[in-house]
């Protein structure tokens, strides 16, 4: 199967994402230019999972994702999603998906008004989505976040619908106690512990998202948006490989379930 990674002007995690897919996961992955109205040239194998990467598309001018959603490639992304194809929005990509209406709600300025670049703990609420089958339900994993506008917001009716439908896939969660955490001692020598355990315990929700929401899927379950960066934690060298399992889930969903 082939991944496509959209490149907007201002995307800055596209190369990291392509690296993680190609070099770590070992899957074919192609960049998709924002100005193209299609997901590929029609010659190469079709793109089966489109990823909108992190960054600052169009400088985050107006609102994060507000201008990127009108890019020609977004028409192709919408067609892909409407046809049941997999779409994954990471960080700025999540912001683009909510602006485009492919996911409900909005992502607002962090409640503390700070750009947050830190590790967070996430509870995997569902493992029956195409993006999370390689996790266990209720498992707590660590991923990095880096954003200034990641506070998920939806009105009460939308929130109730999200929860009733089980569309909340990832939630910020207090870090497990060290004795229970497989990562407790990992990498602690790299920087002072107050950047990690203490801060994570005190503010496990880094941006003030309602219901501690870190990632949601659409009703159909084929579009996922999340603020954390799975592509930044695909190798033990990078202090954890929890993110790789998200991409492995996608390859499993495509090859296992025979989507397209």
């Amino acid at each position: 199967m082939t991944f496509g990674v959209v490149v907007f002007p201002g995307s800055n995690c596209d190369a990291d994402t392509l690296y993680a897919l190609r070099e770590v996961l070992g899957a074919p992955a192609v960049p998709l230019w924002h100005g193209e109205d299609s997901l590929g040239d029609g010659q190469s194998p079709p793109v089966e999972c489109v990823i909108l990467p992190g960054g600052f598309a169009h400088g985050d001018y107006l609102r994060a994702g507000a201008i990127a959603r009108f890019a020609p490639v977004m028409r192709a992304v919408r067609r892909h999603a409407d046809a049941g194809g997999l779409v994954l929005g990471i960080c700025n990509g999540f912001q683009v998906l909510v602006e485009a209406g492919l996911l409900p709600g909005a992502l607002l300025r962090n409640a503390a008004l700070e750009f947050r670049c830190q590790w967070v703990s996430l509870r995997v609420e569902r493992c029956d989505t195409p993006f999370t089958s390689a996790y266990r339900r209720g498992e707590v994993v660590r991923m990095p976040v880096a954003h200034g506008e990641g506070r998920y917001y939806a009105d009460a009716a939308t929130l109730a619908r999200l929860e009733a439908n089980g569309q909340v896939v990832l939630r910020y969660y207090p870090a497990p106690k060290p004795e229970n955490s497989p990562h407790a001692d990992e990498g602690n020598h790299l920087w002072p512990t107050h950047d990690r355990a203490d801060a994570a315990d005190a503010e496990y929700n880094p941006n003030g998202s309602v219901h501690d929401i870190a990632g949601i899927v659409n009703e159909r379950g084929n579009v996922l948006g999340l603020m954390p960066h799975p592509e930044r934690c695909c190798e033990a060298l990078l202090d954890g490989a929890a993110g790789l399992r998200l991409f492995q889930s996608v390859t499993h969903a495509i090859s296992g379930a025979g989507i397209r």
Binding site: V98, A106, L108, L113, Y153
Partner: protein, 103 residues
């Protein structure tokens, strides 16, 4: 013949949406002892310079721009005010119209 207008589109976070920027500004105002200020909401003002036949056309265009791009209806509301563009010292074309946006 078309005329020149300036549409001011004000975009504010909805009342029910937490506005940490407004809260921070309120805190600063209190620090400066502006005791009477009880709440602040921070938003954006867009000034659209528009050439259309009439004021209604300018207002309609600005409303369309606000709906489709300038305002995110999930979390924001907007109001529009249209006035004649000042040109070479001519007096403005009457009073500015003030219309409510969408709440």
């Amino acid at each position: 013949m078309s005329a020149s207008w300036v549409a001011h589109v004000s975009v504010l976070p909805k009342a029910e949406v937490l506005d940490p920027q407004g809260a921070a500004i309120l805190g600063a105002l209190r620090h400066l002892e502006f005791a009477g200020v009880t709440a602040v909401r921070g938003g954006r003002l867009f000034e659209l310079h528009i050439d259309t036949m009439d004021r209604a056309g300018a207002e309609e265009l600005a409303r369309d721009a606000a709906r489709r791009l300038l305002c995110n209806p999930v979390v924001e509301t907007f109001t529009i005010r249209v006035e004649a563009a000042a040109s070479g010292g001519n007096e403005a074309d009457g009073e500015p119209t003030v219309r409510a946006g969408e709440r």
